[in-house]
Symmetry: C2
């Protein structure tokens, strides 16, 4: 066992310091007007919105089985995966694999866990993904960033670090995310090292790993072993990873390679058909759901064949396209119905469910961005998404990460946490004493019950301006975007890194340095 591994494991034993860092951030966020005491994830106190009935769901399940049996799924350029399917009894012809009715469901239900505990290096930040728990995660994958000062430009590793810091400081976000933006100033084949290092050192929330090549996935696992210890990583989920299907009905060797690395190492895969309905799936809600369910089952079952019991999540990313221009659209009714349906199918299957939070097509954090993001977030929250990617920052169909929208969305995320707690029906919540004390025609502002409860009674947004028109005008008539611009800078100025064992940090930095030296820069 190397020193680094010892340090990594030792680190977990000294949670106090890490938790101290987290506590400081939570207090800061609370002072800036956030939610109540930090909760590492949402544990919902209320039910789901479920617009599909039993007959609808049975029809989609039946149709998905028909797709898997008749049409099948292609697994491209990956003989090992085809071999795995053959051994499992699937019908493999060339790269096309067909499955008997119910075969994939059976494989998944036999070993896939219904809830995943993803460990954070600070145990107080460890999350549960699945069942009634929701983890809200920053947006993922934008090559551009946007802010009010600079407009839109390519993202850099400095931006990446900033978004990791902002996520760390946002009580409504439970996760550090993955590629919070693409650091395009770094070579493609080395970016993942700096991204991993950033998540591991500048935050103590859980994070996502690299999936752009199997060896980058392996780097992620190896760095996790430095941080958490070899044995701990083999027995526990410490990183979660986004495996997209190439819809329709294809998995490619890049994604399959990453999937196998993570599953073999007992780390979580989110199997996500990436769908723009009308282009990559049928133009209807039920047809899209059918395809998503077929594709997701194929990827999920594969993880269980690679390592039975490996953590896996049923993912969806579904939007519509404009049938005039082909451009993707967000926050509209049809993708909302797809999300609700996919959540119901995931719960029937008994696996955790991933979908998107604050999706939108707007180029700036204006009203369009907010309407569409709020529609998506509400749907994801009420539809029971367990791992809510893209909750904060996403603009322009995912092409740009907005600093201002990041803090706006994080504010909305914290509200969702409060909503999903549900009503307080305790005696204090019922407030009969207040009603008796005040009576007709008086006000409740000064009554004993209000005095005892006012501090945490209502969610307080740090960004909403609820003042009078006159006061707002006297303060410069600022839009929410302008206030958010000031707010994210204030947060970044207040940022303090969570404590980390220096030995672990050095070992991680050494790993990154050595890896970088071992290969030439490449942009593929």
């Amino acid at each position: 066992m190397s020193d680094a591994e010892t340090e990594g494991r030792g680190r977990r034993g000294r949670g106090g310091r890490g938790a101290g860092g987290g506590g400081r951030a939570a207090r800061q966020a609370s002072r800036s007007g956030g939610a109540k005491a930090f909760k590492p994830y949402i544990s919902r106190g209320i039910g789901y919105f479920e617009p599909f009935n039993e007959e609808h769901l049975a029809t989609i399940e039946y149709n998905a089985d028909t797709v898997l049996q008749e049409i099948g799924i292609e697994f491209r350029d990956d003989p090992e995966t085809l071999e795995i399917w053959k051994e499992a009894g699937a019908d493999v012809q060339g790269e096309r694999v067909r499955f008997e009715r119910g075969m994939l469901r059976q494989i998944i239900q036999k070993t896939a866990p219904s809830v995943i505990t993803q460990h954070a290096r600070n145990p107080a930040r460890t999350v549960k993904i699945g069942e009634g728990n929701s983890v809200l995660v920053p947006a993922y994958g934008s090559p551009f960033i946007r802010n009010l000062d600079e407009g839109r430009r390519y993202a850099t590793i400095e931006d990446f670090r900033n978004f990791v810091k902002l996520a760390y400081m946002s009580p409504g976000l439970h996760h550090s995310g993955g590629t919070v933006c693409e650091p395009v100033d770094l070579p493609v084949n080395k970016r993942h090292l700096d991204m991993n290092l950033t998540h591991m050192t500048l935050s103590d929330k859980p994070f996502m790993g690299s999936v752009t090549a199997p060896e980058r996935a392996q780097d992620t696992v190896d760095m996790c072993k430095i941080l958490f210890g070899d044995e701990f990583v083999d027995q526990n989920c410490v990183v979660i990873n986004l495996i997209n299907a190439n819809s329709p009905m294809i998995f490619d060797d890049t994604m399959l390679g990453a999937l196998k690395v993570y599953a073999r190492n007992n780390q979580a895969c989110v199997i996500s058909p990436f769908i723009l309905s009308g282009a990559m799936s049928p133009v209807t809600v039920a047809g899209t759901l059918t395809q998503i369910f077929a594709e997701a089952q194929a990827g999920m079952a594969l993880t269980q064949l690679v390592r039975p019991g490996a953590p896996v999540v049923f993912g969806t990313f579904a939007s519509s396209i404009s049938m005039q221009s082909g451009a993707p659209t967000f926050g509209t009714p049809e993708p909302s119905l797809v999300l609700y349906g996919a959540g119901q199918l995931a719960r029937r299957l008994g696996v955790p469910f991933r979908s998107g939070g604050g999706l939108n097509a707007s180029k700036t954090p204006d009203a369009q961005a907010a309407y569409e993001a709020a529609n998506t977030l509400q749907t994801a929250a009420l539809g029971g998404v367990n791992f809510m990617l893209h909750t904060a920052g996403w603009c322009e169909g995912g092409l740009a990460m907005s600093y201002e929208k990041f803090v706006m969305d994080a504010d909305q995320a914290a509200m969702m946490g409060r909503l999903l707690e549900g009503p307080d029906m305790s005696e204090n919540g019922q407030a009969m004493d207040a009603l008796r004390e005040v009576g007709p025609g008086n006000h409740f502002l000064g009554c004993a019950h209000t005095q005892a409860n006012f501090e945490n009674a209502f969610y307080r947004s740090p960004l909403a301006d609820n003042n009078s028109f006159e006061q707002w005008e006297s303060e410069g008539s600022k839009t929410m975007e302008e206030r958010a611009n000031e707010y994210y800078k204030k947060l970044l100025n207040q940022y303090e890194a969570p404590a980390i064992d220096e030995g672990v940090k050095e070992a991680l930095e050494e790993y990154v340095a050595k890896k970088k030296e071992s290969m030439p820069d490449a942009n593929y």
Copy 2:
């Protein structure tokens, strides 16, 4: 029977011309990118979101009965109402009235209808309010308007007419509303005449009447009789009216006077406790719901005592306040829970339910306005609001009506119509042929199923910009607010009034002119 009355009734018999006017507007809206064929109201194809369980609801019902029995409700400056309560067996002491457990529920359930048909002068626009039906209605009551050209200023009758035109042209809005803005350029005691005349002549959608004095309510009923005919009005609901409680636990003589006029004439009252939680109700969700349910039952039961079977709606308007400044806040989690709970209570009681749509505290139609409005609209839609006031235009906590936000919200309203229809589970909706035709790795854009369905497959927003960044930039980098500014002006330019019988119109104008002559201008 007067000529006017004959004309009014005759008018209803010649629906073709009115429908022609409506059809033209619907076609225009459709060309501008609206929804599918105009539907006069939403008939939901999916269920409700119901976060309160049986035990929660029974507790709130019990507590509301306790409030009614122990504390009671005050009916101020209205001896007639106190007399009505005495006759009904309530405990009347001074102006305070107390009710035995279950008494009000029994009165309401005995005669109040579960669904109201509100007739429009164009039968194709007649709406159903209650059960699985939702009617989306413009905002109500702002003294100011805002647009991008002028900023914020006092509203005029010209603005009022503009909003009535915009509502008429919005396929997502089913109703012309009431005081869509306060025409403050007209004397207070005569405004209602011009407002009624505008709704009756510039639109053929259903509308709301005046409640600011009993005699103004009577004017509304009398004008309705000109439009619809005496007998028709006595037997059918043709106007719906907003009766606010003076929370906590007070009804005043103005509102009671209007309530009695409308109920006696068989016209609909929306009994709405107007609540800023923490000031006018306890600082908790359950306490606020208890008070709302007590107050609303008192008002609803009164309508049934005045005229058994009179149409009545359980209304709520609940927001929170900032416990720092006392300012109202909107789109936050606690009022959402109140709305969901109130909807569940209304359905258990068996009466139609009213709440708000696009509420927000923002001074401009920026991201704050949109986040808060979308949160409110989603809650209202999923919570089963039957009469959704304030769906379009509301800004600044109701103080200002925004032209730009009006068309943005109307767009969102149309999306809600699509969402609540639910999924199409027909064979065409299941799209198995498309999946078979396309198969792995191809796209669905050109397939036969897509070609047959693309026109109505997805909701098309006339305001969302889904184009590339480069195209958006080349078109002037416009925010949604700027696009909405152009769009509402285009709509107003395209406006054509729906056909109306000239005789009826003249009779209405004559009524207004005579009434105005009969009294001096007054600003109270």
